[in-house]
Amino acid sequence: MSEHAHPTVKSFFGIWITLLILTAITTAASFLELGPFNAVVALFIATCKASLVVLFFMEARYLPKITKMVIVTALFFLGLLLTLTMTDFMTRLMGR
């Protein structure tokens, strides 16, 4: 029904296994003492997993440009909410 190459059942299983492995890794990594990098590693792995789901299970790779823009815009504005709010909380004690 669409022009793009159809993902195969095999590819779905491949993504699924990868997601499970990444889950195991992230749980295991949480037991290691990495200091501030625990959070970085956990969020990095989470972003990898989320990307796999969005790109492959939700077939975001094949979407028309406008729909891809919609996704990017959402992430951008979420980023705005988080960072601009942080500018307040992180600078409250500055200069004291």
């Binding site: 500018t87 307040d88 909380f89």
Partner: protein, 547 residues
């Protein structure tokens, strides 16, 4: 045109109004035009409800003493006035009434992308509105429409949860409309209708829809968390646990500032349509005006903490937000300059829509400039939470947005109903509105500057004269709003038949009959001309009618 309408009257020609009869054909319609009328009726009712609360507020403020109502009741009055006016009138008005009716027609489509979602949007609005009504009737809310914590979460004994839930539900109406508009404008334009040939009303509603989709959910979660704190003790904003009431304010204003652009952008779209028509000229700087709509939508998300300058945010963040606030004024100013430049050397006529447009441009400019005053940190320290702020936002919202709404209603009334309103009465109402508005709200700038706080039911006696002027103005303003109610209804029966294009305006919506047939166009139009091609239109003897 007069000959054509004499030959076939409105009653004989099939249109969306006589296509089907009976209450079910209205309550179960998926025709965007009928849904627009459903919204028109409900929004008008909520407008007068909000106006009723305003009347009580102004009556109380006639005298310095708090003698009409108790302070607790007064708190409820301004809260309910704000909630009803903001969430049940200003946010939906132009998009759901004019937008729903016109967006498909302006792009040459038969309907919106998701007609059933459109109907759902109205029902959700009604459900949310009734929920808010329930909150009002069973005792009201007294937190201010801004629901600041910890008062709303911990100390208020009024129907906070009910009001929050009502607004939460009504928010979905906004979201559904926004999604519908974005998809429609992207995917359902007529052949030949490129983005740069679109009417600016479409650009404005598109930008508005982007804000609706991105911003409304944040309000939704914020209100939900307030309700959760009251009901389930999830103390996310609870200072006793280390929670920060300012976090509520950040989340609240992240939506509520862009929300004011949801309110004004569609109104600006109306003005673009009307100014071009009654100057018989293309808009000056089309690209800039279109781009300005998008810039307002994006920049509008970057400035919210200017509502929090004296709330306790860090002074460095305050400076950042103050600077960003100055940036957001630029695209609005671009639009005002471009409208003026459009009028320059145009062939201007002073029909009612144009009168409202003039009013808008002047009053919105004043409101916008005073917004810049408030965005300046130093000035804001003095005038925050005074009547200066109240005057500022009423200038943009009432002098701006409501005037634009009236402007649009008058401009497109002939298209929607096939009837003309009585021009004499309409001009009188426009004048009364303008005079009444300025009399009501200009004294409030002075009052605020002199130090009268907002949301107080009593004030020092030296402020009384200005308050009396303000209340007198409100009475005049009220007449200015009631008169159109009367003559619009009168025109349905006794108004002159309008014909397809009484204003000789540009735009696809004018190329079909008034009222339009259910499918809008007999055949899908193919667009080969630029927007606002008034030079071509005025060269011709008669406007070509597609139907």
């Amino acid at each position: 045109m007069a000959m054509a309408s004499a030959a076939i009257t409105q009653d004989e020609k099939p249109n969306y109004l006589n296509a089907d009869y009976g209450i079910k054909s209205w309550l179960l319609t998926t025709d965007h035009k009928r849904i627009a009328l459903l919204y028109l009726i409900s929004i008008t009712m909520f407008f007068f409800l909000g106006g009723f609360f305003a009347m009580l507020i102004r009556l109380e403020l006639l005298t310095p003493a708090g003698d009409l109502v108790t302070s607790d009741t007064y708190n409820k009055l301004f809260t309910m006035h704000g909630i009803v006016m903001v969430f049940l009138f200003l946010i939906p008005a132009v998009p759901t009434v004019l937008g729903n009716f016109l967006v498909p027609m302006m792009i040459g489509a038969k309907d919106l992308a998701f007609p059933k979602l459109n109907l759902a949007s109205w029902y959700v609005y009604i459900l949310g509105g009734c929920w808010v009504l329930y909150a009002i009737i069973t005792g009201g809310v007294d937190t201010g429409w801004t629901f600041y914590t910890p008062y709303s979460t911990t100390f208020s004994n009024t129907n906070v949860v009910a009001a929050a839930v009502g607004i939460f539900i009504a928010g979905f109406s906004s979201i559904f409309t926004g999604i519908n508009f974005i998809v429609t404008i992207h995917r359902m334009r007529a052949p030949g209708l490129t983005w740069r040939r679109l009417p600016l009303f479409i650009w404005s509603n598109y930008a508005t829809s982007v804000i609706m989709v991105l911003g409304t959910p944040v309000l939704a979660i914020t209100l939900l968390l307030v309700a959760a704190e009251r009901l389930f003790h999830l103390g996310i904003f609870n200072a006793q646990l280390g929670g920060d009431p300012l976090l509520f304010q950040h989340l609240f204003w992240f939506y509520s500032h862009p929300a004011v652009y949801i309110m004004i952008l569609p109104g600006m779209g109306v003005i673009s349509e009307v100014v071009t028509c009654f100057s018989r000229k293309r808009v000056f700087g089309y690209d800039f005006v279109a781009l300005a709509s998008i810039c307002i939508a994006v920049l509008g998300f970057l400035v919210w903490a200017h509502h929090m300058f004296v709330a306790g945010i860090s002074v460095y963040a305050a400076m950042v937000f103050s600077l960003l606030t100055f940036f957001v004024a630029i695209p609005s100013a671009v639009k005002v300059f471009n409208w003026i430049a459009t009028m320059y050397q145009g062939s201007i006529s002073f029909e009612t829509p144009m009168l409202y447009a003039f009013g808008f441009i002047g009053l919105f400019t004043m409101g916008g400039m005073t917004g810049l005053f408030l965005g300046s940190l130093g000035i804001d320290v003095h005038v925050h939470d005074t009547y200066f702020v109240v005057a500022h936002f009423h200038y943009v919202m009432v002098g701006g947005m409501v005037m634009a709404y009236m402007c649009g209603l008058h401009f497109w009334w002939p298209k929607i109903t096939g009837k003309m309103y009585p021009e004499g009465w309409a001009k009188l109402s426009a004048l009364l509105t303008f005079v009444g508005f300025n009399l009501t709200f200009f004294p409030q700038f002075i009052l605020g500057y002199m130090g009268m706080p907002r949301r107080y039911h009593a004030y020092p006696p030296e402020f009384q004269v200005l308050n009396v002027l303000s209340t007198a103005g409100a009475s005049v303003l009220a007449v200015g709003y009631v008169l159109p109610m009367i003559y619009f209804v009168w025109s349905l029966r006794y108004g002159q038949d309008a014909g397809p294009n009484p204003w000789r305006a540009a735009g696809l919506e004018w190329m079909t009959s008034s009222p339009p047939p259910t499918s809008n166009f007999e055949t899908t139009p193919v667009v080969t001309w630029e927007a606002y091609n008034y030079d071509e239109i005025d060269k011709q003897q008669e406007v070509p009618v597609a139907s």
